[in-house]
Symmetry: C2
Subunit: 296 residues, 2 copies
C-alpha cells in the first residue's frame, strides 16, 4: 500500500504551528487580520468564505468580512480594497473569486497592495514568483510544496510533471518548483490539453501533479511504478448510493493508481484543506513581517 | 544538411517591418523614443548600448542616452527613471544591466513605469507573462518565439525542452511557451544543473533551447534526430588561430548536432541579433499603443 499524503493531517500540524505564531505575535501586541470581500450570490463562494472565516477564528486570526450583492459597483469594491490597504489591523486581503459580471476582476485584484496580497494573485507577486524574488505565493501551489516536503518527498532533482496550466495552480506551481533553491530545484514539465503524447510524458514523472479538472483522468497506465502523486482535482460525480446524490473524486483514478504509487494524496482530504491552511499561513506571515518592521 | 535558423536574416526582415511601422507612426506625429541609462565602465555594457543606439537610429527610433560614472548615486538613477516615465517623447526605458555595486538593481528596475518597460523586466510584466495577460515580454524569449514562427516551426503541441533557468531567458521563455494561445501551446520542460538525467530529457525534445552558458554543452547524443535547436549561448573560447585570440561558440556543439537536427540556429548570427530587434519591436509597440490611446 502507498503512503497517503493527507492534507488533513498536515493541515492539523500546520494550524497548530500557526496558533503558536499567532500567540507569539499577540505578545508583541499584534493580531493578524484578514479583510475579505465577497460579492454576488454564488453559493460555493459563500461556503468557501464561511470555511475561511471559521479557519481564521480557530487559529486566532481576526477577520473583517464584507458581503456585497451582485449589483455592487466596481468603485464600491475598489474603495473597500483601498480601505483594507490602509487599515493597519488588516494584514491580508482576500477577494473571493469570481466577482460578479461587469466587474473587471483583473483590475480589482491589481488594486490590492502587494504586501497584503495573501492570495498571491497580484501580478507583482506572480512576477516575483517567476523571477525568484520574495513575495506572496498563491495558496494552492504553496500548499502542494508543503505537502511534498512534510511527507519527505523533496522535489529537488526530481522530474515533476504538472498536468494542467491554470492560472491558480499549474503555472504558478511550475514557476515555484523550477527555482534555484533547496525547497524547489525540480526539473519541471507542464502538460495540458494540447500536449501531443501525454502518457509518454506523465510516465517519466517522479512526482505527478494532476490539476486538470477532469474526474479520474489519470489512470494507472499513465504513471510509472513508485511515482508520488498529488491530486488537485475536486470533481462532483453523480452517485445515487450517497445521500447527496454525488461524491467527490479527484483528477486521478485513486484505486487504480494507488496500487503502483509510492505515495498519493486523496480527494477529499488532500490539497483542499491545505489551500485554506496556506491562507492562514500567508496572513500570519504578513503580520510577522509587519511586526519585524515595527521592531526595526 | 539542416535548415539554418538565421537570426540575422529574420532580424533584417523584422527591422524592415519596423521601419514601415515607424513611418506609419510618423504620419500620426509620433516618433518612438527609447530612454537609456548606462552606469559604470563595464566595456561590454558600453558596446551593447552603442549597438542598441545604432540599431534604433537605423529604423528611426529616437534615443536619449545618459551615461553615468560608476559612483553615481541610486537616487540620481531613480530620478532619471522618473523623468523618462513622465517624458512623453520616451516610449521605452532601458536600464543596461549590470548597475554598479551599491545600487539595488531590483529596486531601480521596479521604478520603471510598466507601460514603458520594453525590456519586460518589471515584476508586473513578468507576472502578466506568467498569468497570460498582455504586457511587455523580455526581448530574448520573445526573439526566440519569432525565430521559431518565422522559420515555420510553431511550438504548438510540441515538446519544448529548455536547458537553463535564468531570469532573462529560461524562466520567462517557459512562461511564454506554456500559455494557451496559438503562438504558444507547447508542452514545456525546464532543465538545469540539478536535473538528474538531463540526456534522457533532452532526447525527448521536439524543440530544444540551450541557455546554460556552457560552451558546446549540448552534444549530438543528447538530442533526437529531427530536433529543432535554438542556441542562446554566446561563449568566448580561446583560439590562437584567430586575430582576436578567441572565437564565439554557442551552448551547442554545432558541427555535431547539425548532422541530425532538422533545423538549428547558429552562433553568432542566431539569437543575438534577435534580442536587439525585439527591443526595437517593443519600443515601436509602446509608441503604437500611445498612438492608439491618443486616437480614442
Amino acid at each position: 500500500m502507498p503512503k497517503i499524503i493527507s492534507g488533513t493531517e498536515i493541515s492539523k500540524v500546520m494550524r497548530e504551528e500557526i496558533v503558536s505564531r499567532v500567540s507569539e505575535l499577540s505578545r508583541k501586541g499584534i493580531t493578524p487580520g484578514l479583510g475579505v470581500i465577497l460579492a454576488g450570490d454564488n453559493p460555493a463562494s459563500h461556503i468557501y468564505v464561511r470555511m475561511k472565516e471559521k479557519a481564521c477564528e480557530a487559529v486566532g486570526i481576526y477577520t473583517a468580512i464584507q458581503r456585497f450583492s451582485a449589483d455592487v459597483s466596481q468603485k464600491t469594491v475598489v474603495d473597500l480594497v483601498n480601505k483594507y490597504n490602509n487599515d493597519e489591523k488588516i494584514h491580508g486581503i482576500l477577494i473571493q473569486h469570481p466577482l460578479p459580471d461587469g466587474i473587471d476582476e483583473s483590475y480589482v485584484f491589481g488594486q490590492v497592495d502587494p504586501v497584503k496580497d495573501v492570495d498571491g494573485f497580484h501580478p507583482v507577486n506572480e512576477g516575483k514568483l517567476l523571477i525568484g524574488e520574495e513575495g506572496f505565493v498563491s495558496c494552492t501551489p504553496l500548499g502542494i510544496l508543503e505537502m511534498l516536503h512534510r511527507s519527505g518527498y523533496s522535489p529537488e532533482g526530481k522530474h515533476v510533471v504538472i498536468v494542467g496550466r491554470s492560472t491558480i495552480v499549474g503555472k504558478p506551481l511550475a514557476a515555484l518548483l523550477m527555482q534555484k533553491n533547496k525547497r524547489a530545484n525540480a526539473t519541471v514539465t507542464v502538460c495540458h490539453s494540447r500536449t501531443a503524447d501525454l502518457r509518454a510524458i506523465t510516465r517519466t514523472a517522479d512526482i505527478l501533479v494532476a490539476a486538470i479538472g477532469v474526474p479520474e483522468f489519470i489512470t494507472a497506465d499513465m504513471v510509472k511504478a513508485g511515482v508520488v502523486v498529488i491530486d488537485v482535482g475536486t470533481n462532483r460525480v453523480e452517485d445515487s448510493t450517497t445521500e447527496k446524490g454525488y461524491r467527490l473524486v479527484g483528477d486521478v483514478k485513486f484505486d487504480e493508481v494507488k496500487e503502483i504509487a509510492e505515495a498519493i494524496s486523496p480527494v477529499p482530504g488532500g490539497v483542499g484543506p491545505m489551500t485554506i491552511t496556506m491562507l492562514l499561513h500567508n496572513t500570519t506571515l504578513s503580520a510577522e513581517k509587519t511586526a519585524e518592521k515595527l521592531q526595526n
